[in-house]
């Protein structure tokens, strides 16, 4: 293992040295070292506008709303109102797996669009949107239709919410709209918030007639079943005796959302994308939430223990311990086999809004070292912990993202625990509404970079030469051209699941293969690595 540079401040200077002054000054605020456990965490600049031309990894609000949060529901027709591109690019490109069952509905392999043309831009697209909804209804008979606006829709002034209302009256199914124009906010993040608001307003808790059987009822928030992650989590929860009411939104249905208010605990996987619903459900229905992490065997065990502790049922607690013990046998066997080949190797992770943190657990289980990490679009609370929330100022670029005012539901608000119980459970480590963020514990030699760009990525790779780099499809082949393996943490390079215990085993094996592959040794042809042609001097 080569020695890696450790002085974050020096390296930071190098990263920004060539940038125009204003750009350098701005970027400097988004680059800082990690901290040791318990140390004060410095403020990181995040969730601010992207610097034009810098080559960001970021996408847009539409992607965060349609592509991420609402797209994975299998029985809702998700209709893109815009020119064809947005609907095309979000068509099957995220690996939200779905299992419709023998009689179920599944629109995931379909892309629905109003395919706006010049005529619609000039004369408005509401008429076409209405017609498209009617055609979708007549052809597919879905239980619900969700409309997503794209950049031009807001500019030309189409009122998609009015269209949704009138069409809902006409057709008698749930129809709601999302004003997730790509230019809103500064990243995918605004789209998460918009999706949270609309699903809260129009769907969650709209069915009080269906009774949910089962003990220990929970929802899983911010889990999108990439590569089957949610299937593995479902397997474990079922084995432990929990009842999963709804997953937001991997392999989900509109009915799951309608009855989600029956759960007694909300568990949050991806804090960034679904914390809004978690908060609003607590206010409206009295359901507490805790942060969980099913990425990593140890993290999974810890999350299960906290979930069991919340219900304060000894049988459940014992069952969870038994499941953990049983599952860890196979996990430990694989870790022991693989760790000698991965120990001491180094990794960097620059991904989305949650995985750059979650996956550090899995690397640590392989005894690998994290040299740096960062998010595309997370906010300060995801970096620094939720305790900074009161100090976060919403800037001009994000101010127009609606904040819903939620009040306790007069009939259905039912606190699941008394304040005293909550306090007692908190002391036992259940940690309601707690999220410590990514930075703490990364150590002062690790780089933390928000909204990393191509220039900084290339520099970092030159300086650190990590054994593996984690990012997405846009970075993958750039990094691999340099002879460094890139693990995609959005689509898992078509692997997975990586969540839960079986997921951890899949991960260990994939990382072993990637950091120990022989392909990088093939880059030089024999004639490129030999010296002068001494052998050619042979004379007969």
């Amino acid at each position: 293992m080569s020695t890696k540079p450790t002085n974050v401040e020096e390296i930071k200077k190098e990263l920004i040295a060539k940038m125009p002054t204003k750009v350098a000054r701005k970027r400097a605020k988004s680059i800082l070292p990690g901290t040791e456990m318990g140390e004060p965490i410095p403020e990181i600049q995040s969730n601010v506008r992207t610097i034009p031309g810098i080559i960001t990894q970021r996408g847009c609000t539409y992607a965060g709303c349609k592509g991420v949060v609402l797209g994975p529901s299998r029985d809702i027709v998700n209709l893109t109102h815009g020119p064809i591109g947005c609907g095309f690019y979000s068509w099957l490109t995220r690996r939200n797996q779905t299992e419709a069952g023998p009689d179920g509905e599944n629109f995931i392999p379909y892309s629905f669009s109003t395919d706006m043309t010049e005529h619609d831009i000039v004369f408005g697209g509401e008429k076409k949107l209405r017609a498209a909804i009617k055609e979708a209804y007549d052809t597919f008979h879905p239980k619900a239709i969700s409309i997503f606006s794209t950049c031009p829709v807001g500019l030309i002034g189409d009122d998609i919410h009015a269209v949704a209302r009138t069409m809902q009256e006409e057709l008698g199914i749930t129809i709601f709209a999302n004003s997730c124009e790509g230019y809103k906010g500064v990243s995918q993040s605004a789209g998460h918030h918009i999706a949270n608001n609309q699903i809260m307003k129009h769907v969650i808790g709209t069915d009080d007639d269906t009774k949910i059987e089962g003990k220990f009822k929970v929802n899983m928030l911010g889990e999108y079943n990439i590569g089957g992650d949610a299937f593995e989590i479902e397997r474990i929860l079922e084995k432990c005796g929990f009842t999963l009411v709804a997953t937001f939104s991997g392999n989900s249905t509109v009915q799951d959302f309608r009855v989600a208010h029956n759960a007694d605990l909300n568990t949050v996987m991806c804090h960034r994308s679904l914390n809004y619903v978690a908060e609003m459900m607590e206010t409206k229905f009295g359901i507490p939430w805790i942060k969980v992490n099913f990425i990593g065997a140890e993290a999974s065990a810890k999350s299960l223990r906290r979930m069991a502790a919340y219900f304060e049922d000894q049988e459940l607690i014992d069952r969870v311990e038994a499941v953990i013990a049983e599952e860890l046998v196979a996990v430990n066997k694989v870790v022991e086999e693989i760790k000698p080949r991965t120990a001491g190797k180094t990794a960097m992770l620059f991904v989305g809004g949650s995985r750059a943190h979650h996956y550090q657990e899995l690397f640590k289980e392989l005894d690998m070292k994290i040299l740096g990490a960062g998010y595309e679009f997370a906010h300060r609370d995801d970096y620094e912990g939720r305790h900074v929330l009161p100090n976060i100022k919403v800037d001009a670029d994000s101010r127009n993202i609606e904040e819903l005012e939620i009040l306790p539901d007069p009939e259905r608000y039912k606190p699941r625990k008394t304040e005293a119980e909550m306090a007692r459970l908190n002391e036992k480590g259940v940690d309601f509404k707690g999220y410590e963020g990514m930075i703490e514990g990364m150590g002062k030699n690790a780089m933390v970079i928000d909204d990393i760009n191509h220039y900084e990525t290339e520099k970092l790779l030159e300086i650190y030469k990590p054994d593996i780099f984690c990012a997405g499809i846009k970075e993958k082949f750039i990094v691999q051209k340099m002879g460094i393996p890139l693990k995609q943490l959005h689509n898992y390079d078509m692997g997975g699941p990586y969540a839960g215990f079986n997921g951890a085993i899949n991960w260990y094996r994939d990382i072993d293969r990637m950091v120990n592959t022989k392909v990088w040794a093939l880059i030089k042809a024999p004639w490129q690595s030999t010296g002068p042609e001494l052998e050619a001097t042979y004379v007969a």
């Binding site: 610097i51 034009p52 810098i54 591109g85 690019y89 669009s113 706006m116 051209k481």
Partner: protein
């Protein structure tokens, strides 16, 4: 259970809803075209989601780096205009990434608000944001007009507008505008010209850019593509050949009207007849003879057709894709004795219907075809539900229909997200025709082998 379980054979008239499109939007075509210029940095003037999607689409298709910038519009710039975003972007790009050229295209956002690229580019130059000897070129690519093929055509014209000059000293070269096709196709067009001894200028040329080697070093600007200096000379060329009506007509006409370089638009040289036209046009424009080596390759194509016609004859094909690709393919499958039963392209154009009618006039089958708005893969699937076909040709999205209906799929066009080959092996030229026939036959004969009863399972075919 079927993957596309909600698709039935009951076809209802649609006028507003597109389901499973056989097209995407303009800017990705423009981004692709810009990558065919050496030292060029594509830039998307819009909100950043478009750029991320277009880079991802091209990257998934090629498994290669695709780098581009974006103006990263916010709500403010969407209301007040994107000038300051673009000028800041130009400054940052030249400072950090040092390209020879920035090729700017637009999105539905900047087009709807009416940003003027010519004016903003001029301002960037006047403000000293463009270093001496460096260039910015641009093309307007509104996503609500046409498709990705239109975007390609617009950027090719933008490239020519940015660089082509007339010096008054004619050269003996032929301009070739290769259309929306693969790097491997561009290389094959070049190879045929070289075999004939014809000196060509090809713009754009993505060979070597989007099918490059792994060397251990990342090159943001690979040593490939048409150079600005080379493009500049196109106004002095003898003639222009455009390959593909949708993708190249604009460029061919531009060179003709601005520089009096006469041009011909031919079909993409897919299959025997279209390749004949390309070779013959090179011959006529250059005055050079077609060498024996090319006649030999052509003869091999005819030989394969004759050897295997019993397996091609009467097989029904369904196709989805881009119009230039599709029209050439339709002619080729007819040449092979197959029936192009159902054809859709999301890209509209009156010529498509006219040409299809002409191609199909002697085909003894009631073939269905449609282009534009609701000519999507959903409609194609419905047609197939009503009457089965033997072969599917098109991009990766057809694999869902292929599995549901148990029809072999030949992957062709854009995007191919799940197989290798398109970036390395051509489907144009005689060698491309041989490769396509190999793929068609492989699929057809594998199916015969799979389905044959024991008694009819044959060693030879």
């Amino acid at each position: 259970m079927a993957l596309l379980r909600h698709t039935t054979g009951e076809i209802k008239e649609r006028s507003a809803l597109t389901v499973n499109p056989a097209k995407t939007c303009q800017p990705v075509g423009a981004m692709y075209a810009a990558l065919g210029v050496k030292g060029c940095f594509p830039h998307s003037h819009g909100s950043q989601g478009c750029c991320a999607y277009h880079r991802s689409a091209l990257t998934r298709h090629y498994k290669e780096p695709v780098v581009a910038g974006t103006s990263s519009f916010t709500e403010g710039s969407s209301v007040f205009g994107g000038q300051s975003n673009l000028i800041a972007a130009i400054d940052n790009i030249f400072t950090l990434y040092d390209p020879e050229v920035i090729a700017i295209h637009t999105t539905c956002l900047s087009e709807t608000i009416g940003d003027d690229l010519r004016q903003i580019s001029q301002k960037a130059i006047d403000d000293g944001k463009v270093p001496t000897g460096k260039h910015i070129i641009y093309a307007s690519t509104p996503s609500y007009v046409g498709t990705h093929v239109t975007g390609y055509a617009n950027m090719v014209k933008g490239i020519l507008k940015g660089f082509v000059k007339k010096t008054g000293t004619p050269n003996d070269k032929i301009n070739v505008i290769p259309g929306f096709c693969e790097p491997s196709d561009m290389a094959e067009m070049r190879r045929l010209a070289a075999m004939m001894g014809v000196d060509i200028t090809m713009v754009p040329d993505t060979n070597g850019v989007l099918n490059g080697p792994l060397t251990g070093k990342y090159e943001m600007y690979p040593n490939a593509g048409a150079t600005p200096a080379e493009i500049a000379t196109m106004g002095d060329s003898k003639a222009t050949i455009g390959l593909g009506r949708w993708a190249t007509t604009e460029a061919v006409n531009y060179l003709d009207s601005e520089f009096k370089v006469p041009g011909k638009v031919l079909p993409l040289p897919i299959g025997l007849k279209a390749t004949d036209m390309y070779v013959d046009m090179l011959r006529r424009l250059s005055g050079k003879d077609v060498p024996d080596a090319i006649n030999f390759e052509r003869g091999q194509v005819v030989d394969i057709i004759s050897d295997y016609s019993q397996y091609f004859y009467g097989k029904k094909v369904a196709m989805a894709g881009d119009p230039d690709q599709i029209l050439a393919l339709v002619e080729f499958v007819i040449t092979l004795g197959m029936i192009p039963a159902y054809t859709v392209t999301g890209t509209a154009g009156k010529y498509f219907d006219e040409r299809m009618k002409e191609l199909l006039k002697d085909v003894p089958y009631d073939c269905k075809f449609k282009c534009g708005g609701e000519a999507d893969m959903f409609l194609l699937h419905q047609w197939i539900k009503n009457d089965h076909v033997d072969l599917l040709i098109g991009n990766t999205y057809l694999k869902y229909i292929a599995r549901d209906e148990d029809i072999p799929l030949i992957r062709h066009g854009f995007p191919i997200l799940d197989r290798v080959g398109h970036q390395y092996f051509p489907s144009v030229g005689y060698s491309g025709a041989m490769r396509l026939m190999e793929k068609f036959l492989g699929a057809i004969l594998d199916r015969e082998d799979r389905d044959a009863p024991e008694t009819r399972f044959e060693l030879q075919m």
